[in-house]
């Protein structure tokens, strides 16, 4: 069975430093849990996907297209009506609704994408069992590493983390 080592830091920079070093040492950095986004951490974990933005773009533009289509259909095809001698297809004035609704659609699509990417909402998670984990949302920076097989390597890792500034290092079964 694999173990996970959780190191607790009081500062973001220490956490980032420790993470970088562990990776250099060949330890597999699993994740970090921090009270605010730590610049560089995501890259280090290789989480750099921008799929979310693509989804937003697609959602937004298709909504805008639908909105314009609806206006065109209703004003030109389904119920053409002379309004103040304006042309039936008054396309310049038909631009504003697609614009607003497009942006709204992008936001909604993005939100859904965000949830699916993060797997939220997930009200309970094993991590919450870890002592002090609640401080990850307040003032502690937790680093999760894959614990090596050999006992003495774990000791070495713990040593390295302490040197890197970890306040506490613990092993948990995953």
């Amino acid at each position: 069975m694999t173990h996970v080592v959780i190191a607790q830091f009081s500062e973001a920079d220490a956490l980032l430093e420790a993470a970088r070093e562990s990776q250099r040492e060949g330890t597999n950095v699993l994740d970090a849990f921090t009270p605010f986004p730590v610049e560089g951490m995501a890259e280090l974990l290789g989480a750099t996907s921008t799929r979310l933005r693509v989804v937003m773009a697609i959602g937004g533009f298709s909504m805008a297209a639908v909105a314009f289509g609806l206006q065109y259909y209703s004003a030109v095809i389904d119920y053409p009506i002379n309004s103040g001698g304006r042309p039936l297809n008054s396309w310049p004035t038909f631009m504003l609704v697609p614009f607003a609704t497009g942006i709204l659609a992008a936001a909604i699509f993005g939100f859904i994408a965000l949830l699916s990417e993060t797997g939220l909402p997930r009200l309970h998670h094993a991590l919450f069992e870890i002592p002090d984990f609640e401080r990850a949302s307040q003032d502690r920076f937790l680093l999760a590493l894959e614990a090596p097989e050999a006992k003495k390597e774990i000791a070495a890792l713990r040593q390295r983390l302490i040197e890197a500034g970890a306040i506490e290092v613990m092993e948990v079964a995953a």
Binding site: P37, F94, A107, R135
Partner: protein, 451 residues
């Protein structure tokens, strides 16, 4: 930026837990405050909210004849209130998106309640276009839905654009605001003692655990939203400007309207934010994270806006004179000599002249002064909205139909009531939701202290 080190966070708040404690105290450590003033304020706001409810009932029962509108001046308070509130409803998003994109880190400590203000103001604004209708029950006819008349909305009408712009804006703002809130809700979940609070805040926190991967997507989305918010908010108030600009009445048919409506919106929005900021700061002792420098920088923004407003007014008058249309010229004369001339001068004083005091650093850094001027600016902006309507409609093309507007009790009661309702919602907000974005301030603390 070593020179301006630590100016956004005072020493008292220079560690994460201090920030958390300070921000969550109104929610989790109520005993730290004496709530007497809050209760008084809340009682007053409740009374005014009831006044608004009564006014709404009466207008629906009696008909909109209870307002001061007449055959010539067919628009009045409701439209002005709508434009004014929606203007205030712009600033929050502007602050949290524009400043985010421009990396103004100081926004961290004010954007949360600024966005809340946006939500409340925008929703209140949404009420007025509906109740100003002759037949409010049929307001939904502006939406495209299958109906027995086989009719569609008339897409060329600026009111339709309004409808979609507001709807999109409100929904968008809710999402934007909520997303910003999620990590803080997690913080509260983790600090809360009682199981109920845990459960409720926990549920809204969606089980956020601050994973670095999540933070990555979170930030990507947040940035994208900010990038979208700016054009949306600009378009929103441009459309409101088009309500007037897309007509052919003198004083309305002006290309300058959309941009200067946007600036005006930002202007009144910031004016409202400084007042709320001062309130929150003083009420919950957040001097450490809502600093004098915040007021200073916001005052500077207002100063800039006041100059732009003054320029816009001048441009209007010049265009009227230069265009040479008799109707336009006589309208400008009417503005300064006609029925509403005193209000016009008051407008110029509030929006253009008084804010010039912000040239003095001492004034910018005197919170009381900034608040007073902020209130005056909002009065001035309201006057601008109502005068745009009154002047043009009262002084149209045909002298035979020139009439003035005389407000009734119900015009005032609804305006006052809406203010009370706004206060009502804001007071509830500061008691139930972290008024300051903790994770962003924590980041700010980190950057400030260890940068």
């Amino acid at each position: 930026m070593t020179g301006r080190l630590n100016r956004w966070v005072m020493p008292r708040a220079r560690n994460y837990d201090a920030v958390n404690a300070m921000v969550t105290a109104p929610l989790l450590a109520r005993e730290t405050f004496r709530w007497r003033i809050w209760w008084i304020a809340f009682a007053v706001s409740c009374a005014l909210t009831l006044l608004m409810a009564a006014s709404l009932f009466w207008v629906l029962y009696k008909g909109i004849g209870i307002f001061g509108n007449n055959t010539t001046v067919v628009w009045g308070f409701p439209i002005a209130n709508y434009v004014w509130w929606i203007g205030i409803g712009n600033a929050g998003t502007l602050i949290s998106s524009m400043l985010l994109l421009t990396h103004q880190r100081w926004r961290a400590s004010i954007n949360r309640f600024a966005e809340a203000m946006t939500l409340f103001a925008a929703s209140i604004a949404g009420i007025f276009p509906i109740i100003h209708l002759g037949r409010p029950l049929y307001f939904y006819w502006v939406t495209p839905y299958p109906n027995t008349m086989h009719l569609w909305p008339q897409w060329r009408s600026a009111l339709i654009w309004d409808f979609w712009a507001i709807l999109s804006y409100i929904l968008f703002s809710i999402i934007f605001w909520y997303i910003g809130l999620v990590p803080d809700l997690a913080t509260i979940r983790d600090r809360a003692r009682g199981p109920i609070k845990r459960a409720i805040y926990g549920a809204f926190a969606l089980g956020w655990r601050g994973s670095a991967r999540h933070w990555h997507f979170y930030e990507t989305y947040h940035m994208a939203m900010a990038a979208l918010a700016v054009p949306l908010v600009v378009s929103l108030h441009s459309v409101v400007g088009l309500d007037f600009a897309a007509s052919l009445m003198p004083g309305w048919q002006e290309t300058i309207f959309p941009p200067y409506f946007v600036v005006g919106a930002m202007y009144s929005g910031f004016a409202m934010v400084v007042v709320l900021a001062a309130g929150v700061r003083w009420g919950f002792g957040m001097q450490a994270i809502v600093t004098i420098d915040h007021f200073d920088v916001m005052a500077k923004i207002m100063l800039a806006a006041s100059l732009i407003m003054g320029l816009s007014y001048a441009t209007e008058w010049f265009a009227a004179w230069y265009g040479g249309e008799h109707a336009d010229r006589s309208l400008v004369v009417y503005m300064f000599t006609g029925t509403y001339a005193p209000m016009m001068w008051a407008l110029l004083a509030c929006n253009v002249f008084i804010p010039q005091l912000f040239w003095w650093r001492a004034i910018r850094r005197n919170i009381k002064a900034v608040c007073v001027i902020g209130v005056l600016i909002n009065v001035g902006m309201w006057l601008e909205r109502i005068l745009i309507i009154w002047n043009t409609l009262s002084h149209g093309f045909l002298p035979s139909m020139r009439r003035s507007f005389v407000p009734t009790f119900w015009d005032w009661s609804l305006l006052l009531g809406s203010l009370g309702f706004f206060a009502f919602m804001f007071l509830l907000f500061v008691r139930l939701v972290p008024a300051v974005s903790m994770h962003e301030v924590r980041k700010l603390v980190h950057d400030e202290v260890t940068a």
